[in-house]
Amino acid sequence: MAEVEETLKRIQAHKGVIGTIVVNAEGIPIRTTLDNSTTVQYAGLLHQLTMKARSTVRDIDPQNDLTFLRIRSKKHEIMVAPDKEYLLIVIQNPCE
């Protein structure tokens, strides 16, 4: 349990990181550094988007699969590291 927390703390401590969320296979957030409503919003929306991104990659080439998803917006960048059981979402405000 402590090792999970340590790993997440290391990621959260990186420059510009605004928030870190871990989501399970059902799209339910199980760890977060943000407030409730923001967490629930990010978890639900990004879970759906990640599934869509994955099916896009596999439809184009069934031998391929999604490894990482990045969304760049005016204000920050959202990174999603996906897996069979979990998603790791990290929101960063990069140095402009």
Partner: protein, 454 residues
Amino acid sequence: SGTQPMLWTIQNLNLQKEAPVDYAGLLSFLQGVEDVVIKELNKNWRSHAFDGYEVNWVDQNETVFCLHSLSCPEAQDQKLQVTSISWNATGSVVACSYGRLDDGDWSTEKSYVCTWNLDRRGLNPKRPDLVVDVPSSVMCLAFHPSQPSLIVGGLYSGEVLIWDTSRIEDPLIWRTGMTDDTHTDPVYQVDWLQDSKHSHHFQILSVSTDGKILVWRTQRDGQLTLVEGFALVAQQIPWSMKLKKRTRGETAVGVTSLSFSCFDPSVFIIGVEGGYSLKCSTAVETAAVPRTGSSVPLKAPAEFAFSPHGGPVYCVSCSPFHRNLFLSGGTDGHVHLHSMLQAQPLISLQLSKKYLFSVRWSPVRPLVFAAATGEGEVQLFDFGKSSQKPAVSVKQASAQTAVYCIEFNFKQPQLLAAGDASGMLKIWQLSSDFIQQGPREMNHLEQLANEVTD
């Protein structure tokens, strides 16, 4: 990122049923992704890949819209017009003065100075936050550049008054009164001048059609006293040989507008009723003739005369981005883009078939200026788009209702305030292309400025 509260437990998430967590599996997942995520975070932090990259999702051509329409009931009852606008030092408060610009007669009608705080929740567009009664038409206003509640106004009577808007009971704190030094004509412009010796002290500058530009200081007893001043007299205008005019003796030259250079604080441009603009300096030594009856000797500031408009010049504006460029506008409906290095304008544009009452350079876009027309329009001109017609023409009022004054908000440059003859003060929100400087804009401005032929 160390300021975020760390909520590591499931209980904080208000879930309807607790999701069971397989810690071994979770740890294994995190250990697998940690390295790649950290690598991406670091790369992102150092990357310049997206520098200057912008995406337009919205069609940006004409999304200029009216955010607020502000009015003062007392001023509306008297059918007064908006004569001047000023934004305060923080950019949250807009003030306007009411009076008349179309009356030729002297007027003892009382008028008002009103303020609205646009960032306040309870903003009522029909009820100003503050209404100051003034015994004569107020022709011009200027908020202090750093103290958000101090505002100076110039009156039709020639007086200059300073109010502190944080004092609800009695906001008037300084006045010139009617002395031998006071202007004998309406004051058309007032400004705050930073004292060159004591940077926290400010003096007040007033400009009038009596031909004088006066500098005042504040005294403890509430009196504004004359420190120095300048007088414009026809025979002292430095006409170049090409533009030599028949001088009519010691006639006062009515000054309607003034703009200081943003690069050299001793240089200023003035617009005059005679229809031309003049480059002046505060560092002159020549005395003005005749010796007027003021307590301090006045100087003749004019150094260079620019070629005239077809009517009185009402507004001048020095570019915040180029030391030689300024605009002038007047009753001939034309705007002239001038370089201080030559008498002929670089560009002459007809923006209106009626008068132009105000021109202002944009504080953020070097190639953009706004103009207030007698046909009820605010025109936004972009030299980068067209040197013939405005980029955007905003209809503020009917074609019979002149727009008299416009001011950009320097702290929130997407806001432009405009006041008109129907007594309405409108706050326009500009589209994003008017807010951010384009990549080669300064080069283009330099090119324009270098088209000097003299």
